[in-house]
């Protein structure tokens, strides 16, 4: 990649609308201090304990797994992971703001790099997980 055009129409349009927590394109950063282990793919039928956790949300091809529940109250957030853990977090303003870049899947193509969105807030969970009784 000696030179790559960067297109940013999408981010430009997104910035025209005010942002609360999500951008006008619906993007939001969720940050957890520590590691969250997710399945790499949807297990085959028969190897799965709870089929209802899997659904297709963002596209017709892509499986997604439900791993938790988020409650927002002003600047405070609570994330319930599975049935046994609870994390406390806050809505933070990002300084500097972050650009979300999308790189072409094949690096050698002429496809440009895209600035998809500009993110100004994130929800960050800094504490240790709290057990749910």
């Amino acid at each position: 990649m000696p030179v790559k055009e960067v297109v940013y129409s999408s981010a430009h349009e997104s910035l025209k609308q005010p942002q609360v927590i999500t951008t006008s394109l619906g993007n939001m950063i969720l940050e957890i201090q520590g590691e969250l282990i997710l399945p790499v793919e949807k297990p085959e039928v028969g190897f799965i304990d709870d089929e209802s956790k899997y659904s297709k949300l963002l596209s017709a091809e892509q499986w997604a797994v439900k791993f938790g529940r988020l409650e927002l109250s002003g600047k405070k957030a609570t994330l319930f992971i599975g049935t046994s853990q609870r994390l406390l977090g806050d809505v933070k303003t990002l300084d500097p703001p972050l650009a979300l870049l999308k790189f072409p899947s094949e690096p050698e193509t002429d496809e440009p790099v895209e600035v998809v969105d500009v993110i100004k807030h994130k929800i960050i969970f800094t504490g240790r997980p709290l057990p749910i009784m």
């Binding site: 030179v3 055009e5 940013y8 430009h12 910035l15 993007n27 969250l36 927002l72 870049l101």
Partner: protein
């Protein structure tokens, strides 16, 4: 418990690896908000840093890894339930900082006129050079002329000091002979005034003209101080390379190097960073390029030439090492002794 502010949280399996996050400087945010100029990512070689260029500024990118789980999620709604679905997990962020940009001049032929080319590498066109250099288009132009860059038959070349001096001399005399205004010059007028010298092409004239003007658009205004400085350094190089000469003698030689009838004041401070004064009132040429490239050895050589330095005269030799932009008088204290004499700051060896 359900409320308006309750969301299911999902994550795509697998997560996408096509996304990255990059910090935005106020300048870059403004570019995206205004959408008036292009953005380009440049990675000239596999070793060099990746830069993001607007049309006039260059920003260096550096990858900072972290161990947090940072998920890019998208808000949505299904069956009356709101959700966030993560589609990418990001394990690093690009830090962005303003960079001066860099033109890779290695391998570019040196040109000394009369078609004399010292070919040190493969030839490249100016456009190819611009593409492979980690610098914005506008900064490329001004930096290129400052580096003595020009072009010959479409190929990028670097002019030697000799051909610059020759061209500058003819140029100044021609401007004066044609009664052109030093503060309102156009490239074509200057070129035409210079008559026909097969050695001096319009590209070479442009490089030399742009090196010695104050602005980067026509009409150009000649920067007389820069011209006098160039001749001063040439005088140092020619007459004071091996041993110091008396200042009064030096001024006579400097004046005589200048094109006849070219009026401008000669000030020693113009030549800072190019000389030492081993004895009072005596001046000797010091080539920064020939000095050691680390600060401690460089200072050793400089103190050998001259045991005590006025900070203002020493500063140009060591500025390049002050990466953190500390105040220069504090920076120098790490390597040498400092004392104040009235308003002057005198630096001696430790």
């Amino acid at each position: 418990m359900t409320s308006d502010n309750e969301y299911e949280v999902h994550a795509n399996v697998p997560q996408s690896y096509s996304y990255r996050l990059m910090e935005l400087t106020p300048e870059l945010l403004k570019v995206i908000e205004e959408k008036k100029e292009p953005l380009v990512l440049k990675a000239p070689t596999s070793k060099s840093e990746v830069v993001l260029c607007t049309s006039s500024e260059t920003f260096a990118l550096r990858q900072r890894n972290h161990s947090n789980t940072v998920m890019m999620t998208k808000e949505g709604e299904r069956d009356g339930k709101k959700f966030f679905c993560s589609y990418a997990t990001l394990s690093n962020v690009f830090e962005v900082r303003k960079s001066k940009g860099h033109i890779i001049t290695e391998g570019i032929p040196l040109y000394d006129g009369q078609n004399k080319i010292t070919n040190t590498g493969e030839s490249v066109t100016l456009d190819e050079l611009k593409t492979r250099s980690a610098i914005s288009d506008l900064e490329f132009e001004s930096n290129w002329f400052a580096l003595n860059g020009s072009s010959l038959n479409g190929q990028a070349i670097i002019l030697t000091d000799d051909i610059i001096t020759r061209t500058l001399h003819v140029m100044i005399m021609s401007i004066m002979a044609s009664s052109l205004d030093f503060s309102e010059l156009s490239l074509i007028e200057v070129f035409q005034s210079m008559g026909e010298d097969p050695d001096i092409t319009i590209d070479i004239v442009e490089t030399v003209l742009r090196k010695f003007v104050t602005n980067d658009r026509e009409p150009y205004q000649l920067n007389k101080a820069k011209v006098v400085q160039w001749y001063g350094i040439e005088t140092l190089r020619r007459h004071c390379r091996t041993k110091p000469i008396e200042l009064s003698d030096f001024f006579i030689k400097w004046k005589s190097e200048l094109p006849p009838f070219f009026e401008s004041s000669l000030d020693i401070p113009l030549l800072r960073g190019n000389y030492a004064m081993p004895l009072p009132e005596r001046i000797q040429y010091v080539s920064k390029l020939e000095l050691p490239s680390d600060i401690q050895n460089r200072l050793k050589v400089l103190f050998k030439l001259q045991s005590s330095w006025n900070l203002t005269e020493l500063a140009p030799f060591i500025e390049e090492f002050n990466h953190k932009n500390v105040k220069i008088e504090n920076f120098v204290m790490k390597f040498a002794k400092k004392k104040k004499q009235g308003k002057k700051i005198i630096i001696t060896q430790r």
